[in-house]
């Protein structure tokens, strides 16, 4: 699984409230980059057990990626299945990869984008433009009583695709910026900037939510 992620400093400050590391949460069976690639080559050579091991290792992280990108769990399940079927069809082919997970998430990215296009959501996909909806979200009446997790999901779904993807791969899946850059076909600086913007956006929303809650308490 991802190796580039380091424990954030916030963890050191308040370990009781913050996750240890994003990557530690998403990997069912942690595999080293070499191991996962070796397993993939074994699978290509016909070893089904290797395929199962890879599935177990990446099931959770890939599932979360699909759910968070597509915003729809049932659709995410279908796409998730399609991705694994597609991966299995590579059996017998001669494919050279540096890392299996890079290939897996690149395939997943393409499937998710296709799905968004097919569902007419593509017209509303903004890749880098930032719709100014943060204030709208926090001012919505029902948000005042919303669970913070639900708020995060809604806010996340309104982020531009590239920011959302960078943020998800960074925070949920736990990849380094370089690894994300490989998947997204861009450079690490771009990915960092996107993830920072996404984080900033979400933080603003959470600040507003916290102020609302604090205001309620004071009242």
């Amino acid at each position: 699984m991802p190796s580039g992620k380091k424990a954030s400093k916030s963890d050191e400050k308040e370990p009781e409230s913050i996750m240890d590391s994003p990557s530690g949460l998403t990997s069912s069976i942690p595999l080293s980059p070499d191991h996962e690639t070796q397993l993939f080559h074994n699978f290509l050579a016909g070893d089904d057990a290797a395929y199962r091991t890879l599935y177990d290792a990446f099931e959770r992280s890939l599932y979360i990626y699909c759910v968070r990108i597509l915003k729809n769990e049932s659709e995410a399940r279908d796409i998730f299945q399609d991705i694994w079927v597609r991966m299995y069809k590579m059996r017998g082919e001669k494919i050279e990869v540096r890392r299996f997970s890079g290939l897996l998430f690149t395939v997943a990215r393409n499937y998710c984008l296709n799905s968004l296009r097919d569902n007419k959501a593509y017209a509303s996909i903004s890749f880098d433009e930032l719709p100014d909806e943060a204030e709208v979200i926090v001012r919505t009446k029902d948000i005042e009583n919303a669970d913070l997790r639900e708020l995060l999901q809604r806010a996340l779904s309104q982020l531009p695709f590239n920011q959302r993807e960078s943020f998800i791969l960074r925070e949920y899946v736990g990849y380094s910026y370089d690894e994300i850059a490989d998947i997204m076909g861009t450079n690490a600086a771009n990915v960092r900037a996107r993830a920072h913007r996404a984080r900033e956006r979400l933080r603003t929303i959470i600040s507003a939510w916290l102020e609302l809650k604090n205001g309620e308490k004071e009242l």
Binding site: R149, E171, E200, L202, S207, L210
Partner: protein, 214 residues
């Protein structure tokens, strides 16, 4: 606005561990002095916390694995059998962390309780028994050795012995010494030209007679 942007970037960089030592110091000083920065930082921590919760709660269902592996045809039977353990592996890992911690604490508590109870029980029993119990003293009396009366016995390797291991383990050292004594200085065993019978265990008994030089 620009200041806010910079602060956001600094927080993100701090979270990503990308600040140099000096920048980090500056950031921490700013954090201590700026309410706005503290609020933003708090939001970041809350965000991390929510992501963590969200991550934990987003689980692929248990039937997904056997379904997908079944569709593909990759050892569906095996997959089904493994599902109970493998599919929710992460959930188990997360839960097991707490369970392990709890179990460890509990075990420690139980063990220390048991030790305390047994120690207390032991002390009680000892206190109850001690007054009545007479103090037993074992006196080991060593018989006075009269070297002169006893013939000198020299142990030699027991070729006839059936206990080979005993012969290998203990006999040689003693016998070697004995042999060397017997060969090199027979006068040591025979004081003042007195005939001393030497019993050689395991072999024939020989009498060595020495004469004192005049």
């Amino acid at each position: 606005m620009n200041t806010t942007m910079t602060q956001h970037d600094r927080i993100s960089s701090y979270i990503d561990n990308e600040l140099t030592g000096e920048q980090e110091q500056d950031f921490l000083i700013s954090l201590a002095s700026s309410d706005t920065l503290r609020k933003s930082f708090r939001s970041e921590l809350v965000l991390k916390n929510v992501i963590h919760r969200d991550d934990v709660l987003t689980e692929p269902s248990r039937d997904l694995r056997p379904a997908i592996l079944g569709v593909i045809g990759v050892g569906a039977a095996v997959a089904t059998a493994e599902t109970a353990d493998a599919a929710p592996a992460t959930a188990v890992m997360k839960a097991s962390g707490f369970k392990t911690l709890f179990a460890t604490k509990l075990n420690t508590l139980i063990t220390s309780s048991l030790i305390a109870v047994s120690a207390l029980g032991g002390y009680t029993v000892r206190t109850a028994i001690t007054p009545e119990a007479p103090v037993q003293r074992i006196v080991v009396s060593q018989p006075a050795q009269t070297a002169a009366a006893k013939p000198l016995e020299i142990q030699t390797p027991v070729e006839k012995s059936t206990d080979a291991s005993a012969a290998l383990s203990s006999a040689p050292a003693k016998s070697t010494a004995s042999r060397s004594i017997a060969k090199k200085s027979p006068s040591m065993q025979s004081q003042g030209g007195v005939n001393t019978p030497i019993n050689v265990v395991g072999s024939n008994t020989v009498n060595i007679t020495t004469t004192k030089k005049k």
